[in-house]
Symmetry: C2
Subunit: 126 residues, 2 copies
DNA sequence: ATAGCGCCTGGAGTATAGTCTAGGTCAAAT
DNA sequence: ATTTGACCTAGACTATACTCCAGGCGCTAT
């Protein structure tokens, strides 16, 4: 027997709002889940897994349009294009991580500067 | 004699559009530069440096409002608050980097899967 | 002197990604 | 039987971050 999730349960598990979940479904990046007799959405653990991957892509700055492209290729079983899209995103993530390291260095430098400015002003007894 | 830059030169050096530069000035995250007699903006190398730091914050996903907060604290010489804001952003960058590593792992896993799906379909002679 | 270029301003328009509202259905609890 | 709570839809609204446009100024080259 498969575990079924309501939209609010899915929302809790993924951290996305109920509105966002419906929005993603509307723009096509989440498959329309099975509906119960009364029309309410019912999610499977498979849905949950796909959902989690999508949110991971989103949190690494992949635009929804690009996520959508990926999903459509996946639905069309065009795995070569899936590979392409994901590979491009991978390169982007790597670039972003490189930028973040550089920014961190600069920020750490500034933080030490601010710290000494602050302690000087306080007569350095802290 | 200080080197002066026009807005288009600054744009070239920073990769931000002229419109964006004027927009940033309007919302207060860039100081209004000195103006030439005819009203045109003239940037110093100090301006350029500040500009580059700002774009670095922006590229690491710091919202413009937060950048603005930082700048205002800096102008007010409230270095303790500068420290706070920058420190908060540092933590955010570190979290983002952690998420990116996790996403990279998952993406690499998916990439190898897609690769084998594609080569299977092609009769695996490549 | 006039045409072209780079710059100026204020304000309108756009893209992205949601978020909120009004009005309605259904099932369980009082 | 009616109230409550979770859900539904369509569509309006919002926030963020630009981007574009119209109309105008001032210097340089023809």
């Amino acid at each position: 027997m498969e575990l079924k999730l309501s939209i609010s349960e899915l929302s809790e598990k993924t951290g996305l709002s109920i509105d966002t979940i419906r929005y993603y479904e509307k723009i096509g990046i989440l498959p329309s889940p099975h509906r119960k007799g009364n029309g309410q959405r019912e999610y499977t653990s498979g849905d949950l897994e796909r959902f989690i991957f999508i949110t991971q892509l989103k949190r690494t700055q992949m635009p929804l349009k690009e996520i959508d492209r990926y999903i459509q290729f996946y639905i069309d079983q065009d795995y070569e294009s899936c590979y392409q899209v994901l590979h491009t995103h991978k390169v982007e993530i790597e670039e972003q991580m490189a930028e973040m390291s550089m920014a961190l260095e600069k920020i750490n430098y500034k933080l030490t500067n601010f710290k000494s400015l602050v302690s000087d002003r306080n007569g350095k007894h802290n």
